[in-house]
Subunit: 234 residues, 2 copies
């Protein structure tokens, strides 16, 4: 979930500067934050039809009262305006949210269930991709025009959660390509011109450990590792 | 939501000491925390049939995998065992969760949609009532046997959110009796023998302000005001 600010804070008391929330999918970590924005302040939720349908199927999101919060369906590859910026959703290989999976979910399909976000602001571009199962040529072309790329850094190794005993699934089974390896993110995004920052980092990922070999490898490849409170000037 | 610990932390990595979660209702502030407990660690969720039905109607709670998280329906006034304690749900006047309201919801009904929790541990009793629309004699009798009472301190005055411009509803419309006034909580719980601690305090409530007249009134009446990190020895 990516919250975009209005040009200035609004209202008194519980006012927030959030004018719009753009969802890249319906996973808990993309949508649950909406439940903390339920204080009857106006904002818009923008997402694909697939993501809106997944959210709407949960009555609990009814706390975002329809007379206050506008839900707008947006298509991929069609730019739309938000205060101070232009925004576009684009295809990223991935899967449906965990709680919508059937027994054999498609793991790297390009549907409205998992997308990336491109922001254009003052002529500068930012790409936001919290979940990617692969980087096909069309996605790489899109990322190559961005000045800043925030990209899926969930796991370093595909079997990391199994090896650490924190889960039974591989990264690819969860819709996330690994950071390392011949078919990982460092290789897939090599040579792009923009600033590359890994986000959505799982707490098993050794790049979070100062001085770890994996962190050194990421830094040597020219990637940054996001941290709490990080400020990005586009 | 009240999380009860197992006797010791379990597992490595993502292990938590939480063995069971008892829900008093299906409001966002009682249930959304479940979404952060989705890391495939075993625990039980205990609640009335009404609350379980409200949760189950939201596919997003499917992230609590059925092979790991057990959902147990418990009836009011029937004690059940959790590690190290006995627990009982009891009737508290209230209403259904906001997102389940119809146009004219019952505001102070005694149903399974809103309950309190009584814990008995080592012969000592704690009552937990985060939302109460009124205190009928049967509830006062129940509270009078508790050594510690954690009670709804949402608003000091019934019209507080309207007066502060943070909402359009009175406290009673939201299922919460006020702390102050002739029919408020200080009056309703006067003379009880247990330690009385106000919880679930809204950020408009002036009892949160040091030295405010309302805070002084609460303290003079022998009530405590809960705070982050508070530890209670039963």
């Amino acid at each position: 979930m990516l919250a975009t600010p209005a040009l200035q804070p609004r209202g008194e008391g519980r006012g927030t500067p959030i004018a719009a929330v753009v969802l890249t999918g319906a996973e808990v970590d993309q949508t649950a934050g909406l439940l903390t924005l339920r204080e009857r302040q106006e904002f818009a939720v923008l997402a694909t039809a697939e993501t809106h349908a997944a959210v709407a199927a949960n009555p609990i999101f009814g706390v975002l009262a329809a007379d206050v919060v506008t839900r707008r369906v947006v298509a991929r590859d069609k730019p739309f305006a938000l205060p101070g910026m232009s925004v576009e959703l684009f295809a990223v290989p991935g899967k449906v949210a965990l709680y919508l999976e059937d027994e054999n979910p498609a793991l790297a399909s390009e549907t409205g269930a998992n997308v990336g976000v491109e922001l254009v602001c003052g002529g500068r571009r930012l790409a936001y991709v919290p979940g990617a199962a692969a980087v096909p040529p069309s996605l790489r072309e899109r990322l190559d025009r961005a000045d800043v790329i925030l990209f899926d850094g969930t796991l370093f190794r595909d079997d990391e959660m199994i090896a650490t005993g924190t889960g039974g699934k591989s990264g690819r089974r969860m819709g996330h390509m690994p950071v390392g390896g011949a078919d990982g993110t460092l290789a897939a995004l090599a040579g792009l011109r923009g600033r590359r920052i890994l986000i959505h980092i799982n707490n098993t990922n050794p790049i979070l450990i100062e001085e770890s070999p994996e962190r050194r490898q990421v830094e040597a490849a020219g990637f940054e590792i996001a941290e709490d409170g990080m400020e990005i000037v586009l």
